[in-house]
């Protein structure tokens, strides 16, 4: 079966010729209908930029190349007007901070309803009926009251529910969720994830979940793609990745989870931070922070090599021609 979304060799850069920064390089992945893909990585690894590129919502000083095919439509070659008919209709997006992502001056009902007015051409009373149904569906009590409320009267969790209602208003084929639970309380996080799972199953909607939290990935994703410094480091289905992570970066991410710290011991961290695009090192980009680094890692960039069924890993450790396998620690 053909995937719903195919991204091939996606490259994203910012700035003009003199100050060009390649933020995302040769990222390829696909998502089937109804499937959920997690994109994982630290801040600054290019995961949000990738999702904005799929929506074609990056600013004017960005350059995007490669191919993004949704349902056999090549999104990068569409005009802005054609793209507008896809946004909100075929693809929808929810953002990290529901506090700032809703317009403070418009009622909840209006903000959800306008998506349907734009794409489905429904009469007004029909729109209102649909909005009320949506509000109930995302678990908002007293929908008819909330319909007339402004965002500031709602809690963070409620606002994220409103964002979800808005995103699924036109039953999109693909939902991009950019850290949808990061700004919420832990108890609310689980509720929101459950809600997303429920809707995904009911609508047979594909989901791309962008997160830095492997717990979220374990909860909702079928497959995972780990990104670091604008490159894909490892992809695998969620069980394989969580049980037998291959890439040292993935392992380090897993070690940094609070759950994996033994009692009374300090939480593990990955030393250093993600380099900014102008400071991407030669060779493997993770090498300077890697605890299994070898001489070759500083010289040559490893390729993203297939490793088992549906998995791939970008690391010299798994290279067949073991020419220089002495670990440099």
């Amino acid at each position: 079966m053909k995937p719903l979304l195919e991204v091939d060799n996606l490259c994203i850069s910012f700035g003009n010729q003199a100050t060009m920064r390649h933020v995302v390089e040769n990222v390829s992945f696909h998502v089937h209908a109804g499937e959920s893909l997690g994109i994982v990585g630290e801040s600054g690894c290019g995961k949000s930029i990738t999702s904005l590129a799929i929506m074609r919502l990056l600013g004017g000083n960005s350059r995007v190349s490669g191919q993004i095919r949704l349902n056999n439509k090549e999104l990068l070659s569409l005009s802005e007007n054609q793209m507008r008919t896809i946004r909100g209709k075929d693809t929808a997006m929810i953002f990290q901070d529901p506090m700032t992502s809703l317009n403070p001056l418009l009622t909840i009902g209006k903000q959800i309803g306008e998506v349907m007015e734009q794409h489905d051409n429904l009469p007004r009373d029909e729109v209102k009926k649909c909005v009320l149904e949506l509000l109930t569906r995302v678990g908002i009590p007293r929908a008819d009251e909330i319909y007339h409320e402004y965002p500031h009267r709602l809690s963070g969790g409620m606002r994220q529910r409103v964002m979800i209602a808005m995103a699924i208003a036109c039953q999109p084929l693909l939902l991009l969720a950019d850290e949808p639970t990061t700004a919420l309380d832990v108890t609310i996080q689980a509720q929101i994830l459950d809600l997303l799972q429920k809707i995904r199953k009911e609508n047979r909607m594909a989901l791309i979940m962008i997160t830095h939290d492997l717990g979220v990935v374990a909860e909702v994703c079928d497959r995972v793609m780990v990104m670091y410094a604008g490159q894909v480091m490892e992809t695998a289905d969620v069980r394989t990745l969580l049980r037998t992570p291959m890439h040292p970066y993935t392992k380090a991410l897993m070690m940094s989870r609070p759950q994996s710290a033994k009692e009374n011991r300090r939480l593990n961290t990955i030393p250093g931070s993600v380099p900014s695009p102008e400071h991407f090192p030669n060779g493997c980009r993770f090498a300077p922070r890697c605890d299994q680094v070898m001489p070759i890692c500083y010289e040559k960039t490893p390729a993203l090599a297939p490793a088992g069924e549906g998995s791939a890993c970008r690391c010299w450790l798994y290279d067949e021609n073991k020419e220089s396998k002495e670990v440099l620690v």
Partner: protein
């Protein structure tokens, strides 16, 4: 909401009370005797004493102030030293001309400033934006009197399209209102531009784009209302200041408004008129601020909410 309005009215009354003390004190803070001033240098001591008696100037200050307040509340602001006519009458005679100029000028400022500001914001960093900002900066820096004289010279003297100065008809209004409006619009352009740039960078605008809305809906429904709060604030201040008399513009165009009246009163040391103008200007500010506060509530539901919480 009712509580909020009552609160605002109450605080407006406090402001007016403070202003009345200030304007009352003015007469007693200036050097020299008001009766002496009124009668001029050649008056006899007896005449001065009579006038002091008549004006109540020999009574203790608190009772004089009480009398003054009583007068204010009943609309008696005293009589002009110069014309001898009631101050209220003088003010009301001049106010319509000032109001006409202020409102026309402000309408021109809005009609120019808001659209141009939005255009500049949408082309942020581009040639059009830089051109508009340059024009706005130059306009902002030009002295009003110079612009006024230039406009008179070109459109009234050289081209003869409009009367030079002195009338109060609609044809006479065009040049001063135009000068005032264009100069005021420069502030509105800059403010609208910078607020719009800020608003367009907000995440809810990105959400609106992600919903696939038309650009016009995003601009009007999502961005413009958010731009309105600071713009309404500045417009309120501008219109209040103009209603107190656009002093320089009125002088240059010989427009018989409150501004001209105030200047005349100051040069004639006509204290009741000066006091009356102060009270009128204060009153206008209080009323305009009240209206601006009410407009805030219409524009931004969060403001209504926080006041409810406070009350």
């Amino acid at each position: 909401m009712k509580t909020y309005i009552l609160q605002r009215i109450f605080s407006g009354m406090i402001v007016m009370l403070g202003l009345s003390i200030f304007s009352f004190a003015l007469l007693h803070l200036i050097p020299g005797d008001p009766a002496q001033l009124m009668l001029g240098g050649k008056a006899t001591a007896e005449q001065i004493a009579n006038l002091r008696e008549q004006l109540g100037l020999n009574k203790p200050l608190p009772s004089q102030y009480f009398q003054y307040i009583q007068g204010l509340l009943t609309g008696d602001l005293g009589d002009s030293y110069k014309t001898g006519r009631p101050v209220l009458y003088e003010l009301l005679e001049r106010f319509p001309a000032t109001a006409k100029l202020a409102f026309t000028g402000t309408i021109i400022a809005i009609a120019l400033g808001i659209p141009l500001g939005i255009i500049a914001a949408r082309h942020k960093g581009g040639k059009l934006d830089r051109l508009l900002l340059a024009i706005a900066t130059v306009g902002f820096s030009l002295p009003t009197f110079w612009c006024g004289l230039l406009v008179i010279m070109v459109f009234a003297v050289k081209l003869g399209w409009f009367p030079i100065a002195g009338g109060t008809g609609w044809r006479d209004l065009i040049l001063p209102a135009f000068t005032l409006g264009v100069l005021q619009s420069t502030i509105i352009i800059r403010l609208t531009r910078s607020t719009m740039v800020e608003v367009l960078g907000n995440e809810y605008i990105r959400t609106a784009r992600a919903k696939g809305l038309n650009e016009s809906i995003i601009m009007v429904r999502h961005a413009f209302r958010n731009v309105m709060v600071p713009v309404v604030t500045v417009l309120g201040l501008q219109i209040a200041s103009l209603l107190g008399g656009a002093i320089i513009t009125e002088q240059v165009f010989n427009w018989p408004g409150i501004g001209t009246l105030s200047i005349e009163a100051i040069s004639n040391r006509d204290f009741p008129i000066i006091q009356g103008s102060i009270m009128l200007i204060g009153f206008v500010y209080v009323i305009v601020n009240l209206i601006v506060d009410l407009l805030y509530m219409l524009i931004d539901p969060r403001i209504q909410y926080s006041s409810k919480e406070a009350a």
